[in-house]
Amino acid sequence: MVDRINEEDQILLKGCLENDRRIQRRLFEKHFKKMFRICLSYSGDKNEAKDILQEAFIKVFTGLDKFDSRGSLEGWIRRIVTNTAIDFFRQRKKLVYTSAFSGETDEDEDEDEHVSNLFQELTNDVILHYIRKLPDGARVVFNLFAVDGMSHREISKKLNISEGTSKSQYKRARGLLQKWLCDYQQNMS
């Protein structure tokens, strides 16, 4: 296996393993933005996202000795952040899996090209805003499926829900997002 950890990460890793608070802070500063974005994509509320981020980084620092240095440090941190976000919702039982709203379609292949344009045309702020606006349950499932590449079976196990619920929540999230983004674009034009 190729050694993927670079020199900078090695220094950070060594310092963090020595419990050097300054280096730990460096590691946090290096990754906090991306990881916070992930937290925000799982939780629409910024205070919740902060809590998730904080909890995730404590897990990172306390569990760094378990990190396999052959992999990517960022990827490892990302996984911890994602798992922490899922745990957060599972423990607090906040996820409410609401049913799909009327007019939401399952077969929307034709929409994809249009959506492709949407992502290119709309600003990041707007897209992030609508992602955060999604219902918690739908947003979490959507992220796990679309971003983390989990199957509905894996999602169902992680979230203690049925596979059907996972699929329906994913479709709901995607449908809402498409609708909101299209509406926004139409309003703008």
């Binding site: 419990n19 916070f36 306390t62 292949e109 994809d112 959506v115 992502f119 600003t123 897209i127």
Partner: protein
Amino acid sequence: MIGKGFDREYLEWLQQLDADDGDSVWEAIENELDLIETWSRIDMELNRVLPQRKKIIPLEFLKVAGVAAAILLMISVPLLFVLNKGKISRTPVEQVISEATSPDSVPDNPAAPVQAEADRDIASPGATNNSDLLPYTAEIGPDPGEFQKNYLPGSYHEGVTPSRETSLMETPADTKSGDHPGKKDEPAISFITGIRADIVRPAVKGNVNTPGLIVPAIETTGATGISPARFIRILDAGLVYSYKNSWLLNYETWNCLNPTKLGNIMPTFRHDIGITSAVAFKEKHHFGLEFFWLSGAGQNYKQYIEASFVDRKIVLNYFKLQAFYLWNHQKIPGSTIFGGYYARLGMAEEIQGGQKFRVTDDYRDHDYGLVLGHQLNIPLVNSIVITPGIRINYNLMNIFEGHPGAVNIFKSTNNFSAGLNLAVSYSLKK
């Protein structure tokens, strides 16, 4: 698969978002997340689950040693004065008398009787207060070089009574100048035979009664009057400027001195601008007072953030009041100073990548510490004296206040500076 294109586009958008650091969305994200606050909470939790081992760093030792040295100095110097009071309180004339009246000294100077006679002849009737001294003072008279060597060592004399000393150095020019009305009958030349006016004149020019002067401490006062020493007297007043190397000493800066760590401490220079004055207590002990309306402190450094070094600068501006004792060593030109300071924070800001952030609330309003240094007083023209010197300041308290959840490594921050000092003062006439 349903929605496959949508997922792909979404994923691509997210990846582009991750790669695009300069996008305003990052700023928005950063604004929503208070880095310091979040890290503080992480740090607190880490302190609970992964407590750091306390390092014994030399800095701690230096602090204790500094305080101990200061206390030792403050005790030892007055003691030194008390123990040597007999010696240092005497004027050169008194020393001459003392030496001359010593039974051992008379036989050593075979020219004494002759010289004494000569001096009696030129002695002023007005100097009757000193008439008893004449035979003795005359004994060392013939050798002006010896006098200079013994009594004008080139630095200010503690305990010198200027009026007496001056009476020995008075010249016709002085008596004519009207400086001392009512003393017209003063001797035209010094009754210490052989001392030429031009030897002491350059030193007499202007008021040189400033501590630490590298010229003899002689001033033009009444020829015979032995004026009682005033309890307190302002010696000079002027402007002072200091250019100094400043350090904020904490865990962060200490570790940045280690090249293997990610971060660099940069040389940091700040300056102080203010007013200065020196006062004499009973003409024996001299103190300096300085007030700086701008006293800079802080630290420049580079911090490794997001895979690149970012310039960071902490700027702290204080109002500072500094008081110190001026210790004039007989052999070393100038004055060694030691004392303390009190400072009040005026402004604190952090500059990061060109952006300024007000951080006044993160630092304590008050600060105090020690000042050590050495300075020379060089007369420039008439009453103007320039005083170059070196100063070291070290504060004795943690200047970082932060908030209850502040990161532990910043919780203990001390202030240290070392630099060059330059004062331009006007010496006040007695």
